[in-house]
């Protein structure tokens, strides 16, 4: 699956509707060290819709067009204006895979995972489940998606993830551009991240600037 149109991503960890003022509908999202309010139902609804629809790994790429269509279907008719505000505050980002802008974005964001892994099964060894332990998996993804979900959050930025995958690919599949070119890997990551986000098992956050003790790269 590939795309040459800009993809839409929500950014941030949802921290709920905080009722500091009775009767005021105010949702809060954390991005990095800041929290951002989503004022009113429409802003929250559009940010939630920016996650996409959980339709498995075959879900269509989530774009401004599909988002605005979903917003209209749920009764929000001024989606363009609300989206412009969310884009201006980086609560939603829009980027075309394979472009220099996608690399710039990958250097400023990081993937964080939610929930737990289910692994695979002898009957379906190529599908890896993710979800709430003890319940049914929210989604089953191929090994690439599982690796991205399971250790991508260990990296300070999404671009670091792509570089590590490219180094690993250079050792195992040196002639395969899809596995050795960080930009090509980023395109695969962005499409898979849409699947992970739509199923509620990951979110995007601000890239880490300064972390604790460095440790050697893992073998992927």
């Amino acid at each position: 699956m590939s795309t040459d149109v800009p993809l839409i991503f929500p950014v941030g960890h949802y921290l709920g509707a905080l009722q500091s003022v009775p009767g005021v509908d105010r949702h809060v999202v954390r991005i990095g060290w800041e929290t951002y309010p989503l004022e009113g139902t429409d802003q929250f609804r559009l940010w939630a819709l920016a996650h996409g629809l959980p339709e498995g790994t075959d879900m269509q790429p989530w774009t401004r067009t599909t988002l605005e269509g979903a917003a209209r279907a749920t009764g929000t008719f001024d989606a363009a204006a609300i989206l412009a505000d969310l884009l201006a505050r980086d609560l939603v980002v829009e980027v075309t895979p394979g472009t220099p802008q996608s690399v710039e974005l990958a250097q400023t964001i990081r993937l964080r995972n939610l929930q737990a892994g289910f692994g695979n099964s002898p009957d379906a060894p190529l599908e890896f489940g993710i979800g709430l332990a003890g319940a049914q998996p929210m989604v089953r993804v191929p090994r690439f998606g599982y690796e991205l979900w399971s250790w991508g959050p260990a990296c300070a930025s999404l671009w670091d993830v792509c570089q590590i995958m490219a180094r690993s690919g250079a050792e195992t599949d040196p002639g395969d551009r899809e596995r050795t070119d960080p930009v090509a890997i980023l395109t695969r990551c962005l499409l898979m991240i849409q699947v992970l986000i739509a199923h509620g098992v990951a979110y995007l956050d601000e890239a880490a600037e300064d972390w604790a003790q460095p440790v050697p790269l893992p073998r992927v």
């Binding site: 921290l15 709920g16 990095g32 695979n120 489940g129 003890g134 570089q163 604790a212 440790v215």
Partner: protein
């Protein structure tokens, strides 16, 4: 041994009014699992003359820092059991090695020792220097969404999924949980939470960061058991 059913879905909805209670210490150290559970994973290869696929590897994996650890089913069951139990949470029983062994099987003592040796389990005594050491080298990672509070119960904060709260906690616990992923370690999270409360001019949730840590450790099994958080080590990858 089968993996225990620790699903909070089966026990929705539980409220653990995890308060920062102060200087309480437990008689026995609390036991915690370290790492993020990645599930049971099979690797298959063609085998036999017909080339049928056969299982050549069947392990449970946990990511701890930058490393992936392979556990047997029994080891994974013990690791998961360290998250706590519904009964212990309901009865406010501190989850220690002894309470875990009593609830599972005394036969798993060697596995506990092995997992402690691999730093996949850790024992911590709240209110002691070991707690500070633990908090300075580990971080708490949220694995669900924050759902906030309500006008009816402004002091109770929910964690879970949209329209599906799984666990309820006090503001002090919610605040630490919300920001813990940004801090390098749990101790930094406690210090920052304490300072932020002071700077904001609101009533500090504890007398000092140590007391905050003590209270949070007492609430941590509720978060782990619900699947609302995991524990990782303080680390970062070095690309150079």
């Amino acid at each position: 041994m089968q993996l225990p059913a620790t699903s909070p879905v089966q026990t929705l909805f539980r409220r653990y009014d995890c308060c920062v209670v102060g200087d309480e210490t437990t008689a026995e150290p609390l036991i915690f699992p370290v790492g993020h559970y990645l599930g049971r994973q099979f690797r298959l290869q063609p085998s036999g003359s017909r080339g049928d696929l056969g299982v050549v590897e069947d392990v449970c994996r946990v990511r701890r820092g930058a490393n992936f650890h392979s556990l047997t089913g029994e080891q994974a069951a013990v690791w998961t059991a360290a998250c706590g139990s519904a009964k212990a949470l309901e009865d406010a029983i501190p989850w220690s090695r002894q309470s875990m062994l009593a609830a599972t099987s005394s036969q798993v003592g060697e596995i506990v020792e092995d997992l402690i040796g691999r730093q996949l389990l850790v024992e911590v005594s709240p209110g002691t220097p070991s707690a500070r050491d633990f908090a300075s080298t580990h971080r708490v990672v949220p694995s669900m969404l924050g759902l906030g509070n309500s006008a009816d119960e402004p002091d109770i904060f929910h964690i879970g999924f949209l329209n599906s709260p799984v666990v309820a906690v006090s503001h002090a616990i919610y605040d630490l949980w919300s920001w813990s992923t940004m801090d390098g370690c749990l101790w930094d999270a406690c210090e920052n939470a304490y300072q932020a409360a002071q700077q904001a001019g609101i009533a500090a949730p504890a007398d000092d960061p140590n007391q905050l840590l003590t209270g949070f450790l007492g609430a941590l099994h509720a978060l782990l058991y619900a699947g609302a958080a995991s524990i990782d080590i303080d680390f970062r990858l070095d690309l150079n």
